[in-house]
Symmetry: D2
Subunit: 136 residues, 4 copies
């Protein structure tokens, strides 16, 4: 319902700190890409957990916007992350979101996060966004 360009502009306004690039959106899902550099690393050269969760949070919002259109006041109500493998310190993170429920008031989706080029997920996130009631 909203184009990739509209959504990218919207995300840049809503999450001014994010470095996420919207790669793909539609069909009940989204793919985002996030560079990894000094700001994202912990000692040992691994991407920090909160960075992974923030990428998942953006991927979910992008997928949601792609499905139901621009909803500025949607808020995350619940997010569960499982950290699976140590991410590479020298590769970007790719987040692939699939929505699993698009309700009137709640949207639930899951996100697999990968070090670019790998097919083993570094983390898995399930999150819920609450959609504000639409005024008539």
């Amino acid at each position: 319902m909203a184009s990739k360009e509209e959504i990218a502009a919207f995300i840049a306004a809503e999450f001014p700190q994010t470095k996420c690039i919207v790669e793909k959106v539609g069909d009940g899902g989204a793919t985002v890409w996030h560079p990894v550099g000094h700001d994202e690393l912990r000692p040992g050269g691994t991407v920090s957990g909160p960075v992974l969760m923030s990428i998942a949070d953006v991927a979910l919002y992008v997928a949601l916007l792609g499905e139901i259109g621009m909803v500025p006041m949607a808020v995350t109500t619940n997010l569960t992350a499982n950290f699976l493998r140590k991410p590479a310190g020298d590769r970007s993170i790719v987040g692939v979101c699939k929505l699993i429920k698009v309700g009137k008031s709640l949207v639930v989706g899951e996100v697999y996060l990968y070090s670019e080029g790998s097919t083993d997920a570094v983390a898995h996130v399930v999150g819920t966004y609450a959609i504000p009631p639409r005024q008539g």
Copy 2:
């Protein structure tokens, strides 16, 4: 088992990006404090969810270190956050962690996050850290 000063130095090294200040540690818990400024805010003047999760993650690690001593390779395996209320955009965040299990390989704790000065939590987090096996 470790002093507040030792832990603060350790956290500064392990999480070089964090702005968290260790306020209290011991008795199976910890309290951390995090300033809120431009970097932490989303439009509407509210603290972003990933910032809250990162504070909870640090509070858990601080509590863990206070309980079992310096464990450099502990990693978060699971983190569940419930976002409860809109945080104030002009107040710091305080994270209060209580450990609920300190096992040999897994440590579980919960963290209540507050806008400073309020007693209504803005978020609640439960997280698990895996402790690497000790070499003999």
Copy 3:
């Protein structure tokens, strides 16, 4: 807003399979008690995880009813359980719920589950109930 007796009758109707006894309700929380016998045990004499989650689910509902009155169509939307210690096979389970958010549409609470007589929790659960909109 609802008495312990009203709530006990309501729970018996809503969860006809539960063996939970309502012990206490009010002040934003509730305590329930559940016997442990053959039906609840796994080999090795431990209470199964799903039994623990079902007790937590009831404790949350009881606390919610105590806070906002009889709401027949409330449904669990999210539940996260951490299993902490092996429950005793010969002791009842006690579930102690504290609500952490009572909103118009979502109620969030946490539940500590204990083997009766012990102060070390066997499991910790955080759950969310969605409240149906009230008709005017």
Copy 4:
């Protein structure tokens, strides 16, 4: 590593109360089937949340056994369920598990639960099993 028949016998011994039938196992996943009758229903003719979580728990264990062989003492450490839609009261529940990490000490998987014949999931579960260290 273990056949469907071996696993079915094992599950019957480990979870004596379960009504789950193992339909498929292998390739890092499993499918289980659970009948729905009076014991599983709540008023309004819907399957209770704890029943759904118990099916997911079994599906995870089945997938785990299929991957790493018979491990009698594996225990669930964490389970997060999102309830998405009202299950039909007159249809069986099918649980489809996919493992997302098979580590030496932790196994993580996700389970989609469906009312038989539907492709819209009624619930989604992510869970972690801890594997006991192998004696040499």
